[in-house]
């Protein structure tokens, strides 16, 4: 009997240990605060706190993630479309080594904020569930939309959510 109980306890411990995704940041949660260095040397650090009161689109990307690379130029267009209305985009690069991310940016210059998180500390804070994952954060710091992956037609969903927040603030 003890043996069965011990087996059960071990399986439960294993299951709990593997239930990583259950703590991921979800819609309605407070967005975690962070401060990260900019990917380009000499640029000031980038923090969520500095953008308090703004609508912020936080995106996690890497140079090895094909849908990320497809989405970033479209996010750049989106940034120019809505920046005057108060939208900020923070595209957190998780490349390790960082140079891989910088190589991509040489060919595809982006105008929004790009911090570097090679150790994945901020990705761990958000408990990112896949690459890419993005979080739309309202001016009061709540996560309005969590968007994973990037497929055709996703820009409409994202822009609709952004427009809704911008119109309300």
């Amino acid at each position: 009997m003890n043996f069965r109980k011990a087996s059960f306890a071990s399986v439960m411990a294993l299951t709990l240990g593997m239930s990583f995704n259950s703590f991921a940041v979800e819609e309605g949660d407070d967005a975690p605060g962070f401060i990260l260095p900019a990917i380009q040397e000499g640029q000031p650090d980038i923090s969520m706190e500095a953008l308090e009161g703004k609508t912020v689109y936080v995106d996690f990307w890497a140079s090895w993630c094909a849908p990320c690379l497809k989405s970033l130029p479209l996010y750049n267009e989106m940034y120019h479309k809505y920046k005057d209305q108060g939208l900020e985009i923070i595209a957190i690069n998780v490349d390790n080594p960082v140079e891989d991310g910088l190589d991509f940016l040489i060919d595809t210059p982006l105008d929004f904020l790009i911090p570097s998180d090679p150790d994945g500390e901020t990705a761990e804070l958000f408990k990112v569930i896949g690459m890419p994952t993005s979080y739309l954060v309202t001016p009061d710091g709540k996560v309005e939309l969590v968007h994973m992956g990037f497929r055709n037609g996703d820009m409409e969903i994202i822009e609709e959510a952004i427009e809704k927040i911008l119109a309300a603030n």
Binding site: A6, A62, W64, N96, G120, G130, M131, T133, M148
Partner: protein
Amino acid sequence: MKLIRTLLFCTLSISMLAACTQVRPWERGLLAKEEMAWRTNALEGALNDHIFFSKEASSGGSSAAAGGCGCN
């Protein structure tokens, strides 16, 4: 004696949990590299998949790369 064996089993089981770790989505840069693919020849892989599908009426499970979103 039985108690000692039970305790020993629990301790060993729990110590083995140290090896159970998930590769986080943002840590899959190495797995996403071309040289980490199960099959280095895409054409041969596609042919094998086709044969497997025609024999088994199922497909998939032949790769472990990408970022976890299932979209690349």
